[in-house]
C-alpha cells in the first residue's frame, strides 16, 4: 500500500525513489512498503530463528516448531484484530476478551457435541457450521447485554464491567452446579472444571477417514506419501496441523479485509471520532451510543469466532487456566506492540507477541539448557552465591517460564517509553472510502 509510512529503524535502507543497491535491498525495500511483505518478512525471520534452534533435531522438529509458532501467531492475530476494532478504532476498553472467546468456543462445543452422554457432556448434535454461527451469536448477544448499560457510562466502567463479565463466564463454565442445571433443563452440559472435548476438526477428516489415524484418504495418502514418514519424514499430525494453519491464515485475511472495509468508510470515521471526542460526534448529529453498541457487538462476535478457531482446534477446552484474564492481557499486549488502530499492526503484533515474546523465550531457554553442562542450583540464592555464571545461566534457563514475565514486563516498559504507538502506530489509517491524499482533479485550487 502506498500510504504505508516506513517503519522505524530503516537504518541503511535506500531512500525513497532512489534505486536500491542490490536485489536483496530491493526485496527488503519492497517488503517494507507492502503490508503483506511486512507480515511475511516477520514470519520468515521467525522461521529462520526456529530453524537455527532445532535444525540439529531434524526436519520434523523444525517443521513442528514452525507449526506451533505459526499457529500461535495467527490465533493471536485473529484476537488482536477483533480487539483492534473495539479498542484501536473506537477506543472501547474491553478487558473481557477471554470471556467472549470462551463463550464462542463453549457454545460451539455444546451445539455440535453428540447428545449421547456416554461421550462426556452432551450437546445438541447439530452440524459444525451451525455451532460456529451460534458461538458468534452468543458472544455477540452477551456483548450486547454488557454494552447496553456500560457504554452509557465512562470508559473505565466498561473496562470493569467487561473484566467482571469475563470472570463470570469463566466461573459459570467451571461450576458443576451450572453444568447440572444445564443438563436438567436443556439436556446439554459444559463439563464443569474438567472441561469439554471439542468436535472433530473437519480438516483432519480431509486427510484421514473419519479422522482415525492409520486410515488416510486419497488426499492424505498423497500428502503423507510426499511429506510424511515415507517421504520427507514429517509426522502426519504436523502435516494436518499445517493444513489447519492454512485455514487460519484465510480467516486472518478475512478478518483483515472486513476490518479494513469497516475502517475505510464513514462508519470507520465515526469510530475514530468517538475515540477522539464523543461529544463532538454527538454534537454533529451522530448517535454515539448506537455506534458504540454496534461496534462492540461486532467485535465480540469476532472474538467468539477467534475463540472457536483457536481453542476449538485444541481437542479439549477447560475454563481454567485457558480463559483466565491473563489471556485478555496477552491480546492487549499484541495490539499495543503492533500499534493500536492499525489492522496490519494487529496482525504483526499478534505474530511478534506469540513467537518472540510468548513462545520464543521458552524455546530458547530450553535449547540453551540442553547446551549448558551444569547442575541446576536448587534456589535463586544458591545460584547467586555460587558466583558461577554457568550455574546462574542454568538456573535462569531452567526457570524461563516465570522469568518470561519479567522479560515481558521489561519489553512493555521499553515499548511504552521508546515507541508508545507500537510498531505501526504512527501510520495514518485513512477513515474514508475514497482517497484523501490529494484533491481530486476538477476542483480548483486558488493558491
Amino acid at each position: 500500500m502506498s500510504d504505508a509510512s516506513p517503519p522505524s529503524g530503516e537504518g541503511g535502507s535506500p531512500a525513497d525513489g532512489s534505486a536500491p543497491e542490490s536485489a536483496t535491498a530491493a526485496l527488503i525495500d519492497a517488503a517494507r512498503r507492502s503490508d503483506l511483505g511486512l507480515v511475511l518478512g516477520t514470519l520468515l525471520l521467525v522461521y529462520l530463528a526456529a530453524t537455527l534452534l532445532t535444525f540439529t533435531d531434524g526436519l520434523n522438529s523444525v517443521v513442528g516448531l514452525m507449526r506451533t509458532l505459526t499457529f500461535l501467531g495467527l490465533v493471536y492475530a485473529l484476537a488482536a484484530l477483533a480487539l483492534n476494532l473495539q479498542w484501536g478504532y473506537a477506543g472501547l476498553f474491553n478487558i473481557g476478551v477471554a470471556g467472549f472467546m470462551a463463550l464462542g468456543v463453549y457454545t460451539m462445543g455444546i451445539v455440535v457435541r453428540s447428545p449421547d452422554p456416554a461421550f462426556g457432556p452432551p450437546g445438541f448434535g447439530l452440524p459444525l457450521p451451525v455451532g460456529i454461527v451460534a458461538g458468534m451469536l452468543m458472544a455477540a448477544v452477551v456483548g450486547l447485554l454488557a454494552a447496553l448499560p456500560a457504554l452509557r457510562l465512562k470508559a473505565d466502567y466498561l473496562a470493569i464491567v467487561t473484566l467482571g463479565i469475563s470472570e463470570i463466564i469463566r466461573l459459570f463454565l467451571q461450576s458443576s452446579a451450572f453444568d447440572t442445571f444445564l443438563r436438567d433443563t436443556l439436556g446439554v452440559g459444559t463439563g464443569g472444571g474438567r472441561g469439554m472435548g471439542m468436535p472433530q476438526n473437519p480438516i483432519r477428516e480431509l486427510f484421514l477417514v473419519d479422522g482415525q489415524a492409520g486410515t488416510p484418504t486419497a488426499l492424505g495418502d498423497l500428502i503423507f506419501g510426499v511429506f510424511g514418514e515415507s517421504g520427507l519424514g514429517i509426522s502426519n499430525t504436523i502435516l494436518i496441523d499445517w493444513a489447519y494453519i492454512a485455514v487460519l491464515a484465510a480467516f486472518v485475511i478475512g478478518f483483515y479485509v472486513l476490518l479494513e472495509r469497516l475502517g475505510r468508510s464513514p462508519f470507520g470515521r465515526l469510530l475514530k471520532a468517538i475515540r477522539e471526542d464523543e461529544l463532538v460526534a454527538d454534537s454533529l448529529g451522530k448517535n454515539v451510543d448506537l455506534i458504540k453498541i454496534k461496534v462492540f457487538v461486532i467485535g465480540c462476535a469476532l472474538m467468539g469466532l477467534a475463540g472457536i478457531l483457536w481453542f476449538g482446534s485444541q481437542g479439549n477446552v477447560s475454563p481454567t487456566p485457558q480463559f483466565m484474564p491473563v489471556l485478555t492481557f496477552y491480546v492487549f499486549i499484541a495490539v499495543i506492540i503492533g500499534g493500536s488502530g492499525s489492522n496490519t499492526g494487529a496482525v504483526l503484533g499478534g505474530i511478534v507477541f506469540a513467537t518472540v515474546l510468548f513462545e520464543g523465550p521458552r524455546r530458547i531457554g530450553s535449547s540453551l539448557r540442553d547446551v549448558i553442562d551444569a547442575e541446576t542450583p536448587p534456589s535463586f540464592g544458591d545460584a547467586l552465591v555460587s558466583l558461577d555464571p554457568t550455574a546462574f545461566l542454568a538456573y535462569a534457563t531452567d526457570n524461563i517460564a516465570p522469568l518470561q514475565f519479567v522479560f515481558l514486563g521489561l519489553i512493555l516498559v521499553f515499548i511504552m517509553h521508546r515507541r508508545p504507538d507500537g510498531i505501526l502506530g504512527d501510520r495514518i489509517e485513512t477513515a474514508a472510502a475514497v482517497d484523501l491524499s490529494e484533491r481530486p482533479s476538477g476542483g480548483e485550487t486558488d493558491e
Binding site: 472486513l258 472495509r261 469497516l262 468508510s265 464513514p266 462508519f267 470507520g268 470515521r269 465515526l270 475514530k272 471520532a273 475515540r275 477522539e276 471526542d277 461529544l279 463532538v280 460526534a281 454527538d282 454534537s283 454533529l284 448529529g285 451522530k286 448517535n287 454515539v288 455506534i291 454496534k294 461496534v295 461486532i298 495514518i428 485513512t430 477513515a431 474514508a432 472510502a433 475514497v434 484523501l436 491524499s437 490529494e438 484533491r439 481530486p440 476538477g442 476542483g443 480548483e444 485550487t445 486558488d446 493558491e447
Partner: protein
C-alpha cells in the same frame, strides 16, 4: 447534490463587499447562491428558529440559569453577552442538549425540543461549536469535515462492508469529499486538508470547528466564543465568514466576551446576568443601558 457553500468566486466577491460595507451589511448579494434560494423557502416571521422560554438549570444548590427567555430571529446574527458566570454557556448547553434543563422549554422552529440529545438537535438543524475548540486531533482536517454531513449511508456497518452495497457508499464519499474541499476553500484552510487536526494552531482550529459545523447543513449555528484566543487578522476573517453565511440564510447565535465584537457585528444583542436576561436590543440600546453598564462594571461581577 448542490453545495451549500457558495462558489469560490462568490466568496471572493462577498468578501470584498463585506469589507467595503463595513461589518454589518444589509445589502442583498447580487447573485443569489443556491443556499439563499433555499433559505427563502424556510418560513420566517411567525415562528422564530430558536426560542427559549423560562429556562432554568440548577446544579445542586447553584442556579446557573434562572428563567432565561429570548428569541433568535431567522437569518439574524444574535449576540449573547454577559459577565462571567452569567449562565451563557449553561444556556448553550441546555439548548444543544448537553444538559437537560431543570425547567423551561426550548423551541426549535416552533417545535418543543426540550431535553433532546445533542445528536437529535444536530439532526434537526441546530449545530454548535465549542468554547475551547474540540477538533478530532488524530484525524486529518479533511476527515474532520467529512465526518459531519448528515445522511451518510456508509455509516451503516453493513453497507460499508458488503460488496455491491459499498459502491453507493463510495459514490457518496466522493460527493462528500468534494463538498469538504469546497468548505475548506471557503474558510481558506484548504492547504491544511491532509494535516492532522492536532497540528493546527488555535485560530485554525476555530476555523475548522466552524467549517465542520457547517458541513451538517444546519439552519441555526450556535457559536460559543468563536473568537477566543484568535489573533485580530484571523478574527476579521472569521467574522467575514459569519457575515457571508448569515447573508446566505444561516442563523447565528454568538456568545462572546468581547463587547466590541458583539456591538459591531450583531444586529440584536441579548445580555444575560445572574442566569436571566437582563436586557435585549440593538448594540446602541445595550450600550446605553444603565443596568448593563452596572452589571459589567458594578460590584456584582
Amino acid at each position: 447534490m448542490s453545495s451549500d457553500i457558495p462558489e469560490a468566486s462568490d466568496v471572493a466577491d462577498a468578501a470584498d463587499e463585506v469589507d467595503a460595507a463595513d461589518a454589518i451589511s444589509d445589502e442583498p448579494e447580487a447573485n443569489d447562491s443556491a443556499v439563499e434560494e433555499a433559505a427563502k423557502h424556510i418560513p420566517s416571521g411567525g415562528t422564530s428558529p430558536l426560542r427559549v422560554d423560562g429556562l432554568v438549570k440548577r446544579f445542586g444548590g447553584v442556579t446557573a440559569v434562572d428563567g432565561a427567555s429570548f428569541e433568535v430571529e431567522q437569518g439574524s446574527l444574535t449576540g449573547l453577552i454577559g459577565p462571567n458566570g452569567a449562565g451563557k454557556s449553561t444556556t448553550f448547553n441546555c439548548i444543544t442538549g448537553v444538559h437537560e434543563p431543570t425547567a423551561g422549554s426550548v423551541y426549535f422552529k416552533g417545535e418543543d425540543v426540550t431535553g433532546l440529545e445533542p445528536y437529535q438537535m444536530a439532526r434537526k438543524g441546530l449545530v454548535r461549536t465549542f468554547q475551547i475548540a474540540r477538533e478530532l486531533e488524530e484525524m486529518t482536517v479533511l476527515e474532520n469535515l467529512m465526518l459531519a454531513p448528515k445522511g451518510q449511508i456508509g455509516e451503516s456497518a453493513i453497507r460499508a462492508v458488503t460488496p455491491g452495497l459499498r459502491g453507493e457508499v463510495i459514490e457518496q464519499e466522493e460527493e462528500t469529499r468534494e463538498r469538504a474541499w469546497e468548505t475548506l476553500d471557503f474558510f481558506e484552510i484548504d492547504h491544511l486538508a491532509t494535516e492532522h487536526a492536532g497540528n493546527l494552531s488555535g485560530g485554525q482550529r476555530k476555523l475548522l470547528e466552524m467549517a465542520r459545523a457547517l458541513m451538517t447543513d444546519p439552519e441555526v449555528v450556535l457559536l460559543d466564543e468563536p473568537l477566543a484566543g484568535v489573533n485580530p487578522t484571523l478574527e476579521e476573517k472569521l467574522l467575514d465568514r459569519i457575515h457571508q453565511l448569515r447573508e446566505d440564510g444561516y442563523t447565528f447565535l454568538l456568545v462572546e466576551h468581547d463587547m466590541d465584537v458583539i456591538m459591531n457585528n450583531c444586529e440584536h444583542v441579548i445580555v444575560m446576568h445572574q442566569g436571566s436576561v437582563l436586557a435585549e436590543g440593538t448594540g446602541d440600546e445595550i450600550r446605553n443601558n444603565e443596568q448593563v453598564i452596572e452589571a459589567y462594571l458594578g460590584e456584582d461581577i
